[in-house]
Point group: C2
Chain length 331, copies 2
């Protein structure tokens, strides 16, 4: 089992409008709702790859209720599809759900995010609500439960996304230390001060994008910046470079990887798919270049998918062998 | 009691963002949620004016649950404020709620609307979800309940807003006829084909804005268009002309009214406040010029209010005596 932590989980809404014009009124043609927040997205991709995952973090209010209901419905649909694929004739809903809900209930309300897709330009405009306020007691309760989850022996832990109000800025540093004490490999995917603090706790992997990396190191050149982040504490730094693929700096080498052709599509969720690729390779103890290839192929298959944030399995299978992994040169 | 009907009720969300830029990602600084849909807005204004109202229409899903909880919380807060104002020492929550929830539960989910307020420009960009699909059985059930509500003897009925999917386009014509059969004055505030059909059922008042009026009559000149709408069946036509105030064509005369100075502010909800003004005058059987003055003053007090869709009571009290009502000349 792989554990993903999403402290600021969200109910993701996607609105399709013919054309978004500021100050105008728009009829939304289509509304989709799904569980959101980076760790939940990562878990969905891992589930599709055949890994069982447990998701934790905070959830509350009516939006939280909808989020959990959607998670349960997805798990059921997946188990049924799986049972069908295997030709099993067991009762409907049989099979093991791939994503287990271990979210922690809080008094506040789970935030919504609204992605407004402009059908004329294809662009997405994103509106992200702030998260619920977490009390010190809720945070303490979470820490206790997190230790219990680590005790269940996950193959890896991913700590993902922003912190909701009230959670201490050093939260990820605490969660990284707990995982390391329990000898469970830990990946951190966040930005700003929570990333800076988290680095000092020596996570196994951090996965910033180029902008986040420049933000904490003050260096725009990716390889130099990745090495700087590594010196601050991370064992390995996997930096996503958008259409240019990814760069990985580990203790035994540095590599860059990309798909042969630049892809057009929607980059929503590409970073979360990359995290899922890295985690799956970490859980299977693959060599770094193989982990990187998975991350890049999954990320590209997500950009190509017609549904934002989903990845296209056939595209992934086709792209994986074509990913070019090269030793990165010290600049 | 005044009855307002909102077939396509909504949970209204307001998002404040520093500046809305299409294709960018935005942190929402502040989220507010409130019961929405024209008839619910009208009821809130009537409540603030001291009229007790009953609201009906369709409600469903988690968003519907939030809407009802907000309605109940507002009613409680209002009753408490009222009890305090009267110096009553009764138990908390005493007093009569001004807005009574008579919404009808359906299987579908109440829509959301998202108003994105750009704090730099002050503009609002509106995103309106489609409503829930109403089944023929749900519509029949509503009709039966509506007749029962009419049997409770409301002083007036207001039929407000768009129709959710599944409701027959002639729905308002049916509801107007039922009210007229029960000898209850009925106001219709909608647009397009539902307005066109509703007119033929001879409502006491219709309240289109200039654009809606032009849309159904093909005439851009407001007085001419209002007379055309009257010929199509309405006993009186009250047309809102934005910053130019309102125009009213009744069987015994035509008047225009405006506040002395043009107002800067947010026009959200100004039309609903105007409907509340007309209804309150209808319920008290005031002469037309007085109804019109109330509608114009309430509308202006709503534009001036710092909170979108609310009206400022002090501004209303101050503006009401200043409204200029003039006989309108036949163009």
């Amino acid at each position: 089992m792989i554990l993903t932590v999403t402290l600021n989980a969200a109910l993701d809404l996607t609105y399709r409008v013919p054309h978004l014009v500021p100050h105008a009124s728009h009829r939304v043609r289509e509304v989709t709702e799904r569980p959101g927040g980076k760790g939940l997205n990562v878990a969905r991709v891992l589930g599709a790859l055949g890994f069982s995952t447990t998701v934790t973090g905070f959830v509350g209010g009516e939006t939280g209720r909808v989020l959990r209901a959607l998670l349960a419905a997805n798990a059921e649909a997946e188990a049924e599809a799986e049972a069908e694929k295997e030709g099993a004739e067991g009762p409907a809903g049989g099979g093991t759900p791939r994503v287990t809900d271990a979210l922690v209930q809080v008094a506040g309300r789970t935030r919504r995010t609204v992605g407004v897709v402009d059908e004329t330009t294809g662009d997405t405009t994103q509106l992200n609500e702030p998260g619920p306020h977490i009390t010190p007691e809720e945070w303490d309760g979470f820490l206790t439960f997190y230790r219990e989850l680590l005790g269940r022996g996950p193959a890896a832990v991913a700590l993902c996304g922003s912190l909701p109000p009230g959670v201490p800025v050093g939260a990820y540093a605490t969660l990284v230390r707990e995982a390391r004490t329990a000898r469970i490999p830990v990946l951190l995917d966040t930005s700003g001060e929570p990333l800076r603090r988290g680095l000092a706790a020596r996570p196994d992997i951090v996965k910033p994008n180029a902008e986040e990396l420049a933000g904490i190191t003050g260096t725009a050149e990716p390889l130099r910046a990745a090495r700087a982040a590594q010196r601050r504490g991370a064992h390995a730094v996997a930096a996503s470079l958008g259409a240019d693929g990814m760069l990985l700096v580990a203790q035994d080498g540095a590599w860059s990887a990309a798909v042969p052709e630049r892809l057009a599509g929607n980059p929503t969720g590409a970073g979360d798919s990359a995290v899922a690729g890295l985690l799956s390779g970490l859980a299977e103890d693959l060599p770094w270049p193989d982990r990187l290839a998975r991350a890049v192929a999954l990320s590209a298959a997500t950009v190509r998918s017609p549904v934002a944030g989903e990845f296209d399995e056939a595209t992934y299978a086709q792209l994986l062998p074509s990913v070019r992994v090269r030793k990165a040169e010290t600049p």
